[in-house]
Point group: C2
Chain length 214, copies 2
């Protein structure tokens, strides 16, 4: 059972979690990193398959190569935007891999647990959804620890496979940068930068069928 | 900033969250359901695309049809297990859709935000991963509210599309049952039922490359 104070803390961390792109280089305490990884490991997984691995990158050389892969993808994507949107895009900071003291590559092994993982047999992508739930736990735990986290999703998976020596069947689902920051956003950066607005929750809720009203 | 007590509450909910399959029929307070949905909507999403919708199913008829789709899939999957594993499988309760007062179908609209969603352009499955993060927020919020939740992933997506009238491009990523329970599991059900064990976290952590040690 949760007290009212504990419940409020849970909602506080859910509301305060932000995707951060600017970090201080100050190293992170080992204890906090271990607690954040344990939070990930206590995420749910279909058929209890626990498909995740965590590659902790602190090597300057490896971080530089990951940043290169992300920057290369950013340049490639920028070609798709035109006019005002292109200017907005170029203004966005999409990653802070080199500044952040730690980058965690979270991977998903679709073969873990064998050929007939309960639930994954019906919906194969439940393995990456499980991994995403673990990442959300990391994000909330980081936020509660006062540590900022950013999820980089600008890269070609095969670049990351090459850089980190991943076997071909291992899916690098996320590059997460973690560190302290002096620029913690009060609202989502893409909202502040007028890239996208938060939708009204009421418009996203239906009843008993698609489009159904209460 | 989070106090030590608030931090402990966040870790408490992450550790206490369980996938639940047995529910009481007692209805849920509207306020709690709204807070849980708001927690989902405060999940992260690639390019702030917010690809989710929430279909709240309380109609007995619709719940019966969803339970039928899940049961049909359970029977189909059971064919793939043999011997002791088959007996274990048949013993597992895979869903409680009919008992639970509320089932939420969480959907993902891969077209939301237009053709060039930031980040999704590089990794298209970031849309369902975003939706999974929203679901993890719901799970933690439910747990803090004293409400049990179960994620059913046994169904053919087109059955759920038919039952709920979803447009063909809308992905029904999860059926979530919510309700009170008098059978809250202390450990994951699949661990208690000796279906799978929790892995040692240390064996899942690498440093700077796949297989790398500290």
């Amino acid at each position: 059972m949760f007290t009212e104070q504990e419940k409020q803390a849970v909602y506080k961390v859910i509301g305060a979690r932000r995707d951060v792109r600017s970090f201080l280089t100050q190293p992170l305490p080992d204890g906090a990193v271990q607690r954040i990884l344990k939070a990930a490991h206590y995420g749910p997984s279909v058929g209890f398959m626990q498909p995740w691995n965590f590659i902790l990158v602190t090597s300057t050389e490896v971080k530089e190569r990951l940043a290169w892969a992300a920057e290369k993808e950013r340049k490639a994507l920028s070609i798709h935007y035109e006019g005002e949107r292109a200017e907005q895009f170029l203004h966005l900071k999409v990653q802070g891999i080199q500044e952040a003291p730690l980058t965690v590559c979270v991977t998903c092994d679709p073969t873990r647990g064998g050929s007939h993982v309960l639930g994954r047999n019906s919906i194969p992508e439940t393995d990456i959804m499980s991994t995403a739930c673990a990442i959300q736990n990391m994000w909330l735990a980081s936020c509660a620890e006062g540590i900022a986290m950013g999820w980089v999703s600008f890269y070609k998976k095969n670049d990351v496979r090459d850089i980190l020596g991943l076997p071909p069947h291992i899916d690098p689902v996320a590059l997460l940068s973690l560190g302290y920051t002096d620029q913690y956003p009060v609202a989502p950066i893409l909202e502040t930068e007028k890239w996208e607005k938060r939708r009204e929750l009421d418009t996203l809720i239906y009843y008993n069928k698609w489009g159904g009203t209460a």
